[in-house]
């Protein structure tokens, strides 16, 4: 079951999803229903992909951290291109995302 971590309400921001168009992307081959225009890192987080892999040196998990394209902790492979900062791109219909996995 895919977790839904999306905010349902917020005292200031409008987080309603009414009227927002759906887009389907794939993460490690698994289809994910996300919203058009979302930042990829946010779309992943909302669907429970908080950890985006483990650091080969320390084993620590990495995932979106700075959120502004600075730290590379949100790196994933997108449509074959590796080390893409998911906090800097928006989802596209049919986008193929892979969580980077490797051990040294």
């Amino acid at each position: 079951m895919i977790p839904d971590l999306r905010l349902k309400s917020h005292p200031v921001l409008d987080v309603s999803t009414v009227g927002r168009r759906h887009v389907t992307i794939a993460v490690d081959g698994r289809p994910l229903d996300v919203f058009e225009g979302e930042i990829l890192a946010a779309a992943l987080w909302a669907n429970g992909y908080i950890s985006l892999g483990q650091n080969p040196s320390s084993g620590s998990h990495h995932g979106m951290y700075c959120g502004i394209g600075h730290c590379y902790e949100c790196r994933v492979t997108v449509d074959g291109e590796e080390d893409v900062r998911s906090c800097l791109i928006r989802v596209q219909e049919g986008m193929q995302v892979h969580i980077q996995k490797f051990e040294i």
């Binding site: 080969p56 040196s57 320390s58 620590s60 600075h70 730290c71 590379y72 902790e73 790196r75 080390d83």
Partner: protein, 121 residues
């Protein structure tokens, strides 16, 4: 840092350089046992600052550790800035090759000659 105890791990296992997985204990060793006095020296001995973000995230933390360990002046020598500003794919760099006249080729070293005997003296 002393009150931060979410993981319940010993303090010196705290990750300082996320990219390369370098922890506080390793950086302290570089300073106390190996004589590192600047961020660049810590970097060369531990790899902190050598990863994808090239020290953008950990630089301040490393400087702070140097200050705490009594090494001064830590703040006057930042990580040395080098190109590229951000990671650039090898092929993207390669695509620009034809626009440069300089240099014509590598400095002649035995390796690039490789096969021939011109270097025998």
């Amino acid at each position: 840092m002393k009150s931060f105890d979410v993981t319940n791990k010993p303090e010196n296992e705290l990750i300082i350089c996320r990219c390369e997985g370098v922890n506080l204990g390793q950086i302290q060793s570089a300073i106390k046992l190996s004589g590192a006095q600047t961020v660049n020296q810590v970097k060369k001995l531990t790899r902190a600052g050598m990863g994808l973000c090239q020290g953008r995230t950990c630089a301040k933390a490393v400087e702070s550790i140097l200050d705490t360990e009594g090494q001064s002046p830590s703040g006057t020598e930042p990580y040395q800035a080098r190109p590229p500003v951000r990671g650039v794919a090898v092929a993207v760099l390669a695509n620009g090759a034809d626009q440069f006249d300089e240099p014509a080729g590598p400095v002649s070293v035995a390796m690039t000659r490789g096969a021939d005997d011109d270097s025998a003296k």
